[in-house]
Symmetry: C2
Subunit: 196 residues, 2 copies
């Protein structure tokens, strides 16, 4: 993209941006990705479509960034001084109800992604890659503290383990992920693989 | 279900059954789950619809069992004498091309599952639960050999780790799973968590 997010974003206030993202998430939950239109977002938020396109390029980016914005606390804001503390802080970012809501939202989007490469690209750019990068920093701090060996091959798979747990929870156990499940999975799988 | 699979299945030969399953998988790949009809399966395999319904109850079970049948070697047929050997044998069940084919088939089905609880139930009964049970036996043998502690909490998460790797591979790395990836993930994640 030619313009950076910052220059595009600078035209609206952070409060207005947050308001727009909330409206987009409400629409998503109400009607599903395919039925969300820029017209509906514009109407609900009393914005012009021109503004929406100027700021976000299109629906895929707007949706991906709305979800990104909704994540309560980025991993980067957490630095407990231990790998276990930092990873377990993941579980405190959302209560069980929010985890279930976000999990069904992501499940619904994952069905759209197969026929919509633009949405996949936007989710990868605004959600997956930033999470992978933040996780890399969490693990790098653990390497620097001597908790994790720099050449441990599990370092490349931290997000695979975690995303996998969320997805497999529904498939195998027919239950949404909960704080207790994620916490137990981190202690049973992620930490032993990383400190092995 | 009132009748057992065995009594229902006993009316056709294993060769005929295999032929039917191949036809179902071909149709699935050609037109997708929603467009597969019992009429089309009956026409392609020159069976009567009555036979299909009698043997398989319906489309969801027929599809789930066709996929199950297609899996080249069950885990239970593998007993190498070590946990690593048994788990690594997973990677040898399919070559990279088959792995990619099965992975896109499962991805396509996972999008259907959200709006089709009957298919989810059939996949759980015929694919996920048998795999979980087979994996439990692989791990139990490792516990009996003293390779894995009986109270290791990762035992409950082996299928979460493995299914997660397959799903996350596409999301994070934008690549289908390969033998090399699965093999490396088993050594980096699954084994360290289990023998921790």
């Amino acid at each position: 993209m030619a313009e950076t997010a910052t220059t595009r974003r600078s035209r609206i206030t952070p409060e207005r941006e947050a308001e727009l993202y909330e409206a987009v998430l409400d629409l998503l939950r109400e009607v599903g990705y395919d039925s969300v239109t820029m017209d509906a977002v514009a109407a609900r938020t009393r914005s012009s479509k021109a503004t929406l396109y100027r700021q976000w390029g299109g629906k895929a980016e707007l949706v991906a960034r709305a979800i990104r914005h909704h994540k309560p606390v980025g991993l980067l804001n957490v630095d407990t001084g231990t790998l276990r503390g930092d990873l377990q802080a993941l579980t405190a970012r959302q209560d069980d109800c929010e985890m279930e809501q976000n999990s069904s939202l992501m499940q619904a989007l994952s069905t759209v992604v197969h026929s919509n490469p633009e949405l996949l690209a936007a989710l990868r750019e605004w959600l997956i890659e930033p999470e992978v990068a933040e996780m890399r920093q969490v693990v790098q701090r653990a390497v620097d503290r001597g908790e994790v060996r720099a050449d441990n091959p599990a370092i490349d798979y931290v997000m695979h383990m975690i995303i996998g747990a969320f997805v497999a929870r529904g498939m195998i156990d027919d239950q949404p992920p909960t704080q207790a499940f994620v916490s137990s999975y981190i202690d049973a799988v992620v930490l032993p693989a990383l400190v092995a």
